[in-house]
Symmetry: D2
Subunit: 333 residues, 4 copies
């Protein structure tokens, strides 16, 4: 029978980095984790009068629940994280602008001499019955209910090369990928870099536009169940995602075309292996078959996603059918 | 009654640039053009033994049907091009790799010392009854039927600033945007830069993946009907698209994050105007509502698209309802 | 004996593009042109109360003196432009900020929602006797005399591929390279794209910092003598420069790393040919020997320069000694 | 009297990261460190038959000598590192190509489907008497003696935000800046992020071209003396350098224009403070006065340098004359 472990971190148990943190728990492959994740502001922005630059303090942004040490995980293995469910833990969520952060502002590296944009906070109503989150304009009476599409901005393992990375960074180890594809029902594949993998999760979004242009999504604490499985002896170069309908690759880099290149390159490589295609045939096929939704164009690396329909795979099963297997377990819980 | 003008260019009537070419015809606003467009290879690549570097000669790539001089069009106006229908003119289409062109190869500007990838040609079968185009691998017996999703890679007007641009370039004047969104049923809005606008069209694709990573789509000659309408006194900063369900903006630039910025910036500006929102409210709303499918990451500028559901607009009609109006005419033809 | 032709354009004789303009004159290889060039503002900014956005009108910026049709020039040839002298034509020069233009501001493509920086004009005193140009701060009594280092921002020929480009654009045809290396005593090599080459010159700078971060240099009308020589049957892929001490290559592209790649790639290729080195040996040697001063990081393409000492070339003479030959003629004038 | 501490790490004493490593020693401000640094290959590449991919093992590249804990250093302070001398510790140095690393090759993030360039090693002779290092081509009998210009590619402190970064990374904490400006006689200013600063040094280069296009310099173990001084209560946003003649700023980011923007932005800010100029005046002055030599265009961030002559500063002394003071002590040693 599947083991379910509940864990809600206390205030001093959150992790602020991938790597460099002792595990909160040791678990075995096949465990279901029933987790509480705090929002990216550590729950400190609760009204429109709260401002990130005042209420939050670097580096205490984007708290992660974890890390979890997975028994037997070694560099070169793959960790499969199946998202069983992602449920907003509150009836409100929060978005904001943060000075010198986002795609439509200068930043600390896209440095200009212009003053920053105004720092503002928006509180969104979450209505689970209606499956909506509602935006209210600050400067007019405009409001709109948008679909609730809960997702996790951040999922990752400890990085390679002895590094410790801020939870705000997306890279080969996962981290702050900020893609709306990371939702309930998908499996995320992460390459293991250190013994035990050291998996963490955080940064729930009630929903997010592709590219996250203002730098912040509809941020919300979440109650999330993930099923964790270790795939031994199979490596994964960059985070991948599988849903019932699609396989997806991700690339995180700057400039954005490099993020695109990484994701498309990994998709070509993956299709070539799965379908026993020459690289050039896979390149051609992927070029015409792929969709390419942007994840974030605001973080320290930008993230691009490549998606291909699984119906094109015929009877080929990525990772020996791991997603299908995990999906079945999830549905049986 | 709507005037319909048929036009199939002779070999020496194609345009290879936007700007710098005398109009093939003068038309009035409200005309339906029933056009033949040749494929991007000028129809010279017809079998897997034809290679672009041998059969095609720069600058005679990407032939355009046009330009058309629209009576009364002046700088500062907008030209609305409604795509009534786009039908493959052949039962085959062609794709290829072109040396030092594409996203997953070095290029003349992303210059490396590595040799180019192999130059190859693939012929795709088009089955209109089944609505498919079929890929056949060169190095194995893999084949797959993909949905036929006809579109135009290139639509544009003469550029501003006395310039003449190759038909391979996407920019503010439109041109080689290479977005799968440019399909039957949508209206493309282009800012007019010169008297008469000088609208041309070409580069039909039986389908295309987002980003066009190998640099070439499933290229096909097309029979295309467009309904052309002049919107006086309304300017359009970058090409926009409207479908029955979405409004869309485009940005074309390098690096890719700038293409993203342009498209998102124009969407924020457009939403702010349409919904009478402050810029910061529009920024926040767009950030959470937008989808951001990539168009091309291979051309001389990269193109990014921002899409927002029209259901969020309430009763507001972009361009005073031009799309709805044109759609009705199109359905009545 | 060397023919010297004087030419000062009338107001309606300036060219605003490369390509698309009839030649002002036909000349033969070996001619010395003694030219007047107007400043990039067409001489319309003459005091600190003149503003570009008010006094100048797009596309009438960056007037070029030319184009000159060089008898016998054909695509595939190289035009050598030796700068005999560049003399400020006034005792003042002008710099400015231009809204949404420059490296430390958002722009039309690096689009942000921030307001533009203030638009300001600075008038610089030129003292030819002291060989200085003097900056005076607007908001304090700070002033500094900087060395007068006259150069041309723009030098080019008609582009390839039927294109016409604004004089504000740098690319393979030269154009608005904006490098301080383009000074008296150097020879610029440009590949010929169209019959007659159609060479033009403009955009004199009393001096310029590397990268031209505010987007504008110390702009000044110039009296400039160039010696024009046609090198038949030798092609030049991107603009190159030769001084008495260095060979230089240029690359113009976005993002800036691509401009860098182009310039370094051309230097590796050139060294490989000149020194009969394998490509990998030339790559290694250039990597350690090169200096890489930035030209501009503000124009529609950015420009990067690669420089290598000619002392490393031994007795090898680029372009069969063209620079040495032209230098000798220039010194004899 | 100045304290001089000699330190040559044993094989297991090198650091491979900035941050995350216990200090090898506690020192006080004013100490001279007389250090041995190993080359970036940890001394494992000693002949042309040694290859990086075989002899070196990730992450054990770019060994650092340190870190040193400086008594009293706190976040918000500045550490001044004055380079008293940098002397090659061997009579040979080594360069190489590394698969998928460098500016003129595809990489793991500028991902293409092309095979990597050949992996090669070159051994350079160092002649201290002649002050040269000599390149010998592999594929011909070409050889050239280039000036010996010893420098350190890597100098840095522990990063902020709880991070640990590979010694291959340049960023705000310094690290692998790879600029030829980091040579004997200069002072490097680094912002302190953690208690004790945790300063390390490594990656000596006998010389390096600007941009380090092949990804590797003329790598050499060094005997280096640095004078370390703590400047309390003065912060430094990005690494800065001061020589007898210039002040310099650095920016490390991708794309390269962002590295440029950071360096120029910091120079404008610094000049504004030093010369009591308005930001717009400082922007204008810097634009015309600056030189902008590239450091590296190959590392995980690219690094750009901005340089301004100290003669323009009048009697203003950066960091209250720290460089002049340290220079005097250094000359007295």
């Amino acid at each position: 029978m599947t083991q379910v472990i509940q864990f809600k971190p206390t205030d001093d148990q959150f992790a602020w980095t991938f790597g460099g943190v002792a595990p909160v728990m040791h678990i075995t492959s096949g465990t279901v984790l029933d987790l509480y994740t705090e929002d990216c502001f550590a729950g400190k922005i609760r009204s429109e009068s709260d401002l990130v630059s005042i209420s939050c303090k670097f580096p205490f942004l984007n708290p992660q629940t974890g890390p979890f040490f997975i028994a037997g995980a070694q560099p070169g293995d793959t960790l499969a994280i199946h998202f069983v469910s992602i449920e907003p833990a509150r009836d409100w969520a929060v978005s904001s602008t943060v000075p010198l952060f986002g795609a439509l502002t200068s930043t600390h590296t896209t440095a200009t001499l212009q003053p920053p944009l105004p720092e503002l906070t928006w509180i969104w109503e979450i209505d689970k019955a209606e499956n909506t989150c509602t935006f209210r304009a600050k400067d007019s009476d405009f409001k709109r209910a948008l679909p609730l599409e809960p997702m996790h901005g951040t999922v990752g393992v400890a990085p390679a090369n002895l590094e410790v990375r801020s939870a705000l960074v997306p890279d080969t180890h996962g981290g702050n990928l900020d893609t709306p594809e990371m939702k309930a029902g998908v499996t995320c594949y992460l390459g293991v870099n250190v013994e035990g993998a050291l998996f963490s999760l955080g940064d729930g979004h009630a929903r997010q536009g592709e590219g996250e242009s203002c730098g912040v999504a509809v941020e919300c604490a979440m109650n999330t169940k993930v099923l964790v499985e270790l795939i031994k002896g199979v490596s994964t170069p960059w985070p991948r995602i599988e849903s019932d309908t699609h396989i997806m690759t991700t690339g995180s880099a700057r400039p954005l075309e490099d993020a695109f290149r990484v994701a498309q390159h990994d998709m070509v490589t993956w299709l070539s292996e799965l379908l026993d295609l020459s690289v050039m045939d896979a390149y051609q096929f992927a070029s015409q078959a792929v969709t390419s939704p942007l994840a974030n164009v605001c973080d320290t690396n930008y993230t691009s996603v490549a998606k291909v329909l699984k119906s094109y795979l015929g009877d080929k099963q990525p990772y020996a059918g791991a997603h299908r297997h995990l999906r079945e377990i999830a549905l049986s819980l």
